[in-house]
Assembly symmetry: D2
Homo-oligomer: 460 residues x 4
């Protein structure tokens, strides 16, 4: 089966050029200026960009959390991903204290298998380190799981101490893994939360005030110190704060292999959202929280300057009705997280490329190529090249969009970007050569998505 996409402009993390893309079965086999006619199907991409399928390296689907379970499972989540031009996700398998990492992976594999619209893989979160778990780390890297998450926050739940952090960094680094961190000081948050609750300050805004930017900057600094001492590469998830970004920039300037991702919510939303009426601020309860207005622009500069390498979503959706409402009288009971899997690519294109903040190459790099390289999916995924998976987005830069819950695929009763408008729409999405999304409609088959084992870390 051969498909030819012609007349479009191929855009990669470094290049853009007019060429036809020839797909055979699951792979791209040629890029040509004058294509032949020997294709089973020919698609005209005149006036369109051909991007590599986007990769979202930070999702939480079908995850029990805060006494409830995320609104999106692997089916609704990955269809939403496809709708937004994302053809591969990496979700997090969380170790249950006392159990093995493999046990966590088994659970998550079971949740995902046969249910995905796009390809998927897993990071493993280490919450309870012992000698057996230490031994699992190199073994799992060999099995295709070269990335380990640790939490410096969520005291009493996921939070590890610095000794554990350093040991995981050393063990992972020596075996070719990358350590990912949720960098906030959980002790600070814990003290402040208890104070706020004791003082009767229970509205959603206090969630943000209990997660001060200093607590993030401190944790980022500490994590970088550990990374430097260990010699291991290190990656900060959902970096939200300008001060924290400054620490990353310092580390990188000194030559340390430190990487960081931010998320659309920190680029487009700010702390004012917590004051939406009727408990509306609950929709934005997430960790780290939204920051002061003005902070967003520093993060955009971080993307442009190369100090932030990835934009992912931390997609973790909960319905307002019945879920976010659990915390109506106590912000600590609001399930923490927000949806975003479906809107990341459009938002970044419109806010980044159209607004002149980042180049179109940087855009592709942030949503696809850098994630693929950092997490061992490249060159199979993350670019439009001969031999890579035909995960492609035919993107119409002139089409207008309005984001709305009413029209989304995400299975959740609100959208944090409700009413956002812009230009640039993923029109057709291919996953390994199959058209799975077309002009607003999902046309794929659930179960098409396949687990992707990943290669050890090699840098960008």
């Amino acid at each position: 089966m051969r498909t030819l996409i012609k007349n479009g402009t191929v855009v990669t993390a470094s290049d853009s050029y007019r060429a036809a893309v020839l797909i055979e079965d699951e792979k791209i086999i040629a890029l040509e200026s004058n294509p032949g006619a020997d294709a089973d199907e020919i698609i005209d991409a005149s006036g369109k960009y051909i991007f590599p399928g986007a990769i979202d390296v930070h999702t939480h689907l079908d995850m029990p959390f805060c006494g409830t379970i995320t609104a999106d499972d692997f089916t609704t989540g990955t269809i939403a991903a496809a709708a937004g031009g994302t053809t591969c996700i990496i979700d997090y398998a969380l170790q249950t204290p006392g159990e093995t990492l493999q046990a966590a992976l088994d659970v998550w594999h079971q949740r995902a298998e046969g249910k995905c619209a796009v390809d998927y893989s897993f990071h493993v979160a280490v919450t309870d380190l012992n000698d057996a778990v230490m031994a699992e780390i190199p073994a799992l890297i060999k099995k295709g799981y070269p990335s380990f998450k640790v939490f410096m926050a969520h005291k009493g739940v996921f939070q590890i101490d610095d000794a554990t952090l350093l040991k995981v960094l050393k063990q992972s680094g020596e075996a070719g893994g990358l350590v990912l961190v949720h960098a906030e000081n959980g002790d600070v948050i814990d003290v402040l939360v208890k104070e706020m609750v004791a003082a009767g300050r229970t509205e959603p805004l206090y969630h943000a005030l209990c997660h001060p930017p200093q607590a993030e900057e401190e944790a980022v600094n500490r994590f970088i110190t550990m990374a430097e001492i260990s010699g291991a590469p290190a990656y900060i998830v959902h970096l939200s704060d300008a001060g924290a970004l400054g620490r990353v920039a310092d580390a990188r300037l000194q030559g340390l292999p430190v990487y960081a991702e931010t998320c659309p919510q920190y680029l487009f939303l700010n702390i004012d959202r917590y004051s939406e009426p009727d408990f509306g601020g609950a929709k934005y309860v997430m960790s780290p929280p939204l920051r002061e207005a003005g902070n967003e622009e520093y993060l955009w500069s971080g993307l442009a300057s190369g100090n932030l390498q990835v934009v992912a979503t931390d997609h973790c959706s909960f319905n307002f009705k019945g879920q976010k409402e659990l915390g109506r009288h106590d912000f600590t009971k609001i399930p923490s997280g927000a949806p975003g899997l479906e809107t990341r690519v459009q938002l970044l294109y419109a806010g980044g490329v159209n607004e002149g903040r980042i180049s179109i190459h940087k855009f592709v790099d942030l949503v696809s190529t850098a994630p693929a390289k950092l997490f061992g999916l490249y060159p199979q995924k993350g670019s439009v090249t001969v031999g890579s998976d035909a995960d492609l987005v035919i993107f119409d830069p002139e089409a207008a969009f309005t984001i709305s819950q009413a029209t989304q695929y995400q299975n959740v009763d609100h959208n944090p970007y409700e009413g956002f408008t812009g230009k640039g729409v993923p029109e057709k999405i291919f996953s390994r050569g199959r058209l799975i999304f077309d002009s607003g409609k999902y046309v794929g088959q659930v179960g098409h998505g396949r687990f992707q084992p990943r290669k050890p870390f090699t840098g960008l």
Copy 2:
């Protein structure tokens, strides 16, 4: 005429993959996994990389300077370029005070025309600003010269004052130009030089001591301030000092469009060279000078972190005999400059990629893609893509090299890297589809090189 290069690995600033490259006349027309057989010539690149031809955006050929003239002219220089995998250069046309910028271009065009082995273009150096010259700036951008050099050093010769600097930045920035700066404080240098000479300190080492790193860091800081005030993009040539790099990094983190190049001499050599016996230090008299040992590694980190975007050469060769010797009793009379056009690519590959300091993609970006983009040559040049010029380097990563004056194409009686060894050799060089260098021999035709008008600045 069609040429097929098969079995190689194409490497771009973001990608690497096995593909055949199909060339028709001057252009790449296809990248394929299973090429057909309809080529006039087929080249087997098994085990080789296919890089885009490198671009050296900082050369001085056939230039009168310090009372003499550079040892390399456009013929010897561009053959040396080809030998080193460089298929396009941008040289500097220097305004004579009192005359127009166009007059300088006319002189330089005459020097280059019909004499080049590879393609070439020109920056214009502004040394004497008046209203007529202000008017020339937008006109020249339209004519294909979108980059203007100014000097903060060379007091009494090329040095401009800050008002001129700011005016050039504003004028150039508004019209789509990029301002390039030699960032050293010329007043400081002038005072120190006079002191040294008066004190009888005339050996080559004193050249370095009269150009302290602080004088560079200061000028870089000042230039960035001007760029910020003007809103214009700004580019620092031959950045040599870790402190100066820190200022660039700060500016970039704040979102300023500030760019910087460094050169192999600052990555591989240090101040100890000035103490070579028998006046040997004179070979390394250049501005900025070689810095303290240890400084090199900061620059490497600057390349890896993205804070330095370009590696160029500032190739400006003078023979030791008869030229450098002019300053045997007074370092101020040593013609300032060193050769490097031929060795840049190999050195950066061996010291950077082989040593694990930068990825192979970063390497390609530094020597080819970023220069092409910043200086308006992209996408015609700077990558291996469908539709771009077939400027290609077939590079053997396993071949060993030893740098020596005895075997070089550079027309100069020494080589600053004499005896350096490493692995990775440009084996075959194509310029617009023509094989011009093959296995150590120049096989092209002088005059093949063509002037390249360039597009206005659009960023990276």
Copy 3:
């Protein structure tokens, strides 16, 4: 003649304690807990502080500038000084290009002699350097003028180039002098002013917009670089900007002998003042200009942390009527400067000590002791110690004040702090043992003030 001040609390830059102060003629001869009764006059200072007389190291009295002459001369200015607790000033003698430094001193001595209510001394501003002037520098240090001012701003008038700056620093530093700088980039200002005027933007606010904070930060950075290269101590006058302060802090942390003064206007006023109606903003036209709101607090932190060592006034008064009005249609014609000699001490006490921003010791240090030490007046002046001049302020910390032009001694038709209220009033002022100001009235004799030759620089 003996005077005993008893029951007060002596406060110095490091100490505070209850003690009687015994004065004999011009000097303090004892500090005692149980004083004898052998004084000619006994003053009860119960509930009062006894501070050393304040020193204002930055005044411009009887100075021709901008085509007019300052409103205050040495008589009105020094009476106002006395009224505000200042018992010594250092004014600036400005070299006329082509003439000697001594000639400038002669002029200024003539202006001051016999006309001063408090002691006085002179800095010398170097505007035109040649070999003869270079030779004057060490000679003048020996004669009691160990401080030399240079201007990096005022292009075409006072501005010197970097070579001159470096030469003055070297010459002064070797001979025991301190170089003072007006640190703004005059070229930037010049370009911006011409643009604004050409664009018809002539209101007072544009004065501020033509003096951007970056132009100050840049100049401070450059001056520090020169100081580092020269090895000489360096002092920045009227530092106004948080960014510039950061550069000073960096230099000091590295061990460089870099000092800086700020002024009350930058601690209490901000850019909003330029929008006062009816051309009222003209009153605040000074260089550097008032900065954005919020900047003030950074300067207060700079005082508390020790990164700023001196608070002086840059007192340079012009009447609104007839003087400031000269620039009603063109801000460049507004005489630049504002009064402040009379209000410095109260403002700093009320805003600093009462508001908890600085300790009372730091307050004394900023207005008296550090200035005395840095400028060679210590220990004769600058503290309350045995053997020092009986320049004393009996200060009532509980007395309320309201600043007003109506009640001031400054000979100018407005007051930038009109309506400011606070607590803490200089009640009695002694100059070398003589009571010259008492409860709001000048009771001294014009001509009492004496020229003070100063000692070479020794640091703090």
Copy 4:
């Protein structure tokens, strides 16, 4: 009883002047230029300085640690203090987990009472926080113990977590206390120590390698973050590293009430000491360890610039024979600590004032005035003023010294500064009006030293 010290030069943290000092019983009652003759004893201090008695705010006497007990108890330690010009110490009472802070104070009071040659006071170290201990904090501040120490290092022994740190800061800050911290990341140290020991690296040098400077810089940064969030003043003990100093400087520039002490060992010694033969490096096993050569000069600059406010000793002496030797085969068993109480003043004078690194006023401030102010002893102690305790040092700036174990009063079998020579010797020491040390001989009475309750924190 009246004593008159005449002909000397009184030196305080801000002043120096010739005056006679008149003492009545325990207090200074007058400073006079022409003293009367009504004294019981007259001491001629011609050519001498009169300093306030130095205060050492960081000692460990008679302390059980590492399975042994310090070589100096309160008698030998305070005689050594007196010998070195120190007339007041603040030792540390360490809470036993599970017991109250008061219980610790009771133990330490018992150890000191009746045994001291000079005055003394106690900080309280919090190692186990619960509600009862939280309640003790304000109560103890009222009782004269306004300073609380916490440890970020010594994992499993003294180390507290960040929540405890934040709670102590808040509780102490609100009640007028100052929190002192040992800032090293104990988790990092613990991981590294176990690795080193497991690898058989047991020589003293490995102690230093297990305490990398990054672990200190990280902890300092974290502590400052906590201090900022809590709004409390914060003090870092024994700061040893240039990077850590940079963090303190940043905090201070932002206006945070952050203070830091360093110690002579970090100003005069470096990591090379660990390589002394015959296990000699064990003498320098302390935490933080001695740092790389070159680091010392950054600390000196920190003193000069005001970013470090105190020089204390962390005196914690163990004999080489029988104590340090416990770790001959395992550096973790070497009792950690070194003597210094006797040599601090001379070393700082010789290395600081004589070498031109700090002024004589800064010297006095660092060893006496700032400690007195920060820890609530001022104005009773810390200066030479009317009404303060007659704790005085008559210091001969011309007398030469050679430091040697053979001649010291410290009760320990080595001296880290053995063989150091310099000029400047404390000749006569007065404690509350009593001469206790004279020309090399202790002439006081053990038991003369009295407990000093201290006032709440008010800043410098």
